[in-house]
């Protein structure tokens, strides 16, 4: 090998080793639990997207000749008290709960992060006003807040999404603000000022990407909470309304028949659990990957 090619290969491997994305992916991949969480969530996501193709029955089709049948080849998760296929309803339930959660969490992510970054970067009275508003919202437990809001706007699929969006906004605002406060003090932010960069450019072009790590961790954790809250609201009867299939509603209905038809509630219960565990594992894994000092376990 000539000296030049040797140099080139050395350079290439150095670049591969140090590329931030690559080392991030490697670190994340080495975390078995996080990888497992990622697979769980991907599986649930795919199942939800392709629910119409996978589901053997329509989620609303009633079959009075097969009421509360135990799990079998024809009905892998059994049937409910109206003869509907539990498996198909779980698949469509995923579709509903994930649509609501993703919409709600992304909405709170955009609104909360914008306010938080603005407050943290600007400081002074902007900070005080925004964060006092956040404190007020935070002083309600998010479920109570969600219940109150639902009562005000009426229960529906998009109503729940909106409620999640409002209830989670302060959480993102806090995380974004604390990140912005520390990034603001970085020398490169000052050197951007020195170069005459505009405030909007500094906040969204530089403070935001430098705060992204903790925000993404928060997004995954909030996905887990969002699924739980959506299901809870349905369980309490103020969330998604029939005939839309909803995991919480199935759980609530199934509990009345727990002694005669356990499959009516056990399967929706496990279905709720899987993505929640998945998102939490991803969140923990991401936190470790973003902050190598905490890792190594």
């Amino acid at each position: 090998m000539s000296p030049e090619t040797a140099d080139e290969t050395a350079d290439e491997t150095a670049a591969e080793r140090t590329h931030p994305l690559r080392s991030f992916v490697t670190r994340f991949g080495e975390n078995r639990l996080a990888l497992f969480g990622f697979l769980l969530v991907s599986l649930v996501g795919l199942v939800a997207i392709f629910a119409p193709e996978i589901a053997p029955y329509s989620p609303t089709a009633q079959d009075y000749s097969a009421l509360q049948e135990p799990p079998s080849l024809a009905h892998p998760f059994g049937t409910d008290d109206l003869g509907r296929d539990v498996f198909s309803r779980v698949l469509f339930g995923y579709q509903t709960v994930l649509t609501i959660t993703v919409t709600g969490v992304l909405m709170s992510f955009f609104i909360g992060t914008s306010f938080g970054l603005l407050a943290g970067y600007t400081g002074r009275w902007t900070d005080s006003i925004v964060m006092r508003g956040v404190d007020v919202l935070m002083s309600f437990p998010s479920l109570i807040l969600a219940l109150a809001l639902i009562a005000a706007i009426g229960p529906s699929k998009w109503g729940v999404a909106l409620v999640l969006g409002i209830a989670y906004t302060p959480i993102f605002a806090r995380v974004a603000r604390s990140e912005a406060v520390s990034v603001r003090e970085e020398q490169f932010i000052k050197s951007l000022d020195v170069r005459g960069a505009s405030k909007t450019r500094i906040i969204f072009g530089h403070v935001f990407p430098n705060s992204l790590g903790p925000l993404i961790v928060t997004v995954t954790i909030q996905f887990a909470f969002g699924i739980l809250t959506t299901s809870t609201l349905s369980y309490l009867g103020v969330g998604v309304q029939p005939p839309d299939p909803s995991l919480g509603l199935m759980l609530s209905r199934g509990k009345d028949y727990l002694d005669v038809a356990w499959w009516m509630s056990i399967f929706p219960g496990i279905a709720i659990m899987l993505p929640v565990i998945g998102f939490n594992l991803i969140g923990d894994g991401l936190r470790d990957s973003f902050d190598p000092r905490q890792g190594g376990r």
Partner: protein
């Protein structure tokens, strides 16, 4: 030709314990073809002075007097918008101490260069990229077209400082402020960065204001130097005059405190005492309490001394015939408005 001229500039920081006059009636000029050094110990107001030129003081800082004439305009009177659009980055730019934290870690060197170039020069993406490569080449970064797409962490410390300087120079500023640009770099890299600053000053029409506490750096590259003490500019002069025949007792003490390589001293010479508390500065000369040649009552009771011209411009009553009868030199008081001319 004078590029920048400050006149009686004062800056005060509001604190809970009262106002701190970090810069007090400072006047000096920077010529268009020179490297002007500012030396002084920590907390003497060097960095505040630099931040004031760009009007980027911390929230509690305020210009409480004086003017900064630059390109026919008074920088203290410009609006925030005018400063951002027409001065910062385009006419005056600045390089900071630590190159490791001066670059945004999430963007490539090229993206950061191009961002600034497009902001001020209004070039297309392709032109800006060409310009960026040219600028990196100018500051001595090898194979700039490849390094353009590297992230800051792929650069070494010295390379990063070159990149930072490249960004500062990308819009062809008239004045480059370098705030301790070599602190934290190892000695051989220091020398390269200083050489780069000298070359920029020679080849481009860029005046440089170099802030440092390293007298060696000053002797190396500066044409003229201002010595600051406790918010005052106590002496201004050509580098040779300052090093060969310093007039102010503080400058002399500073030079005495330099360790010399050829005679091995057991102990370093230090200046006894500490700088005064600027929340409540003493009357008279700020240095009087530590001065070994107090000559007159005015040193401790009067106002801060006026500037006397005798080889250098010096703020010290030693050079006043009325206050110091032993003085028999030729001095005259320099009006604030003709300082440095």
């Amino acid at each position: 030709m004078t590029r920048l001229s400050t006149n009686g500039l004062s800056v005060t920081y509001r604190t809970k314990q009262g106002g701190v006059r970090a810069v007090d009636r400072v006047s000096f000029d920077i010529e268009s073809d020179e490297i002007f050094g500012i030396v002084g110990e920590s907390g003497c107001g060097k960095s505040t002075l630099a931040n004031t030129f760009l009007r980027l003081l911390d929230d509690n800082g305020e210009i409480t007097g004086g003017s900064i004439e630059f390109e026919g305009r008074d920088l203290t009177k410009l609006t925030e918008r005018e400063l951002a659009d027409e001065v910062r980055g385009s006419q005056i730019s600045m390089v900071f101490q630590d190159p490791n934290t001066s670059l945004d870690p999430v963007y490539t060197i090229g993206q950061q260069l191009i961002e600034t170039i497009r902001r001020h020069l209004g070039l297309s993406k392709r032109e800006a990229r060409e310009h960026a490569i040219q600028t990196l080449d100018d500051v001595g970064i090898p194979s700039p077209e490849d390094r353009l797409d590297d992230y800051p962490h792929q650069f070494s410390g010295g390379m990063k400082q070159r990149a930072v300087i490249a960004i500062a120079l990308s819009c062809d500023p008239d004045l480059l402020i370098a705030d301790e640009p070599t602190t934290g770099l190892d000695v051989s890299i220091q020398a390269q960065i200083l050489e780069l600053l000298e070359r920029i000053n020679d080849e481009q029409d860029t005046a440089v204001m170099l802030i440092t506490h390293d007298l060696g750096v000053v002797a190396d590259v500066c044409d003229r130097v201002g010595v600051m003490y406790a918010g005052n500019m106590v002496e201004i002069g050509g580098v040779e005059a300052i090093f060969d025949d310093p007039k102010h007792p503080y400058t002399r003490a500073l030079l005495r405190s330099l360790p010399e390589a050829h005679d091995m001293q057991d102990e370093l010479t230090v200046i006894e005492g500490t700088p005064p508390d600027l929340r409540d500065p003493p009357d008279g000369c700020r240095y009087a309490a530590r001065c070994d040649s107090v000559c007159s009552e005015a040193c401790e009771t009067g106002d801060i001394p006026p500037l006397y011209r005798d080889g250098t411009d010096v703020r010290c009553y030693l050079y006043d015939e009325a206050e110091n009868p032993e003085y028999d030199g030729q001095t005259r008081v320099v009006a604030e408005s003709e300082v440095g001319q």
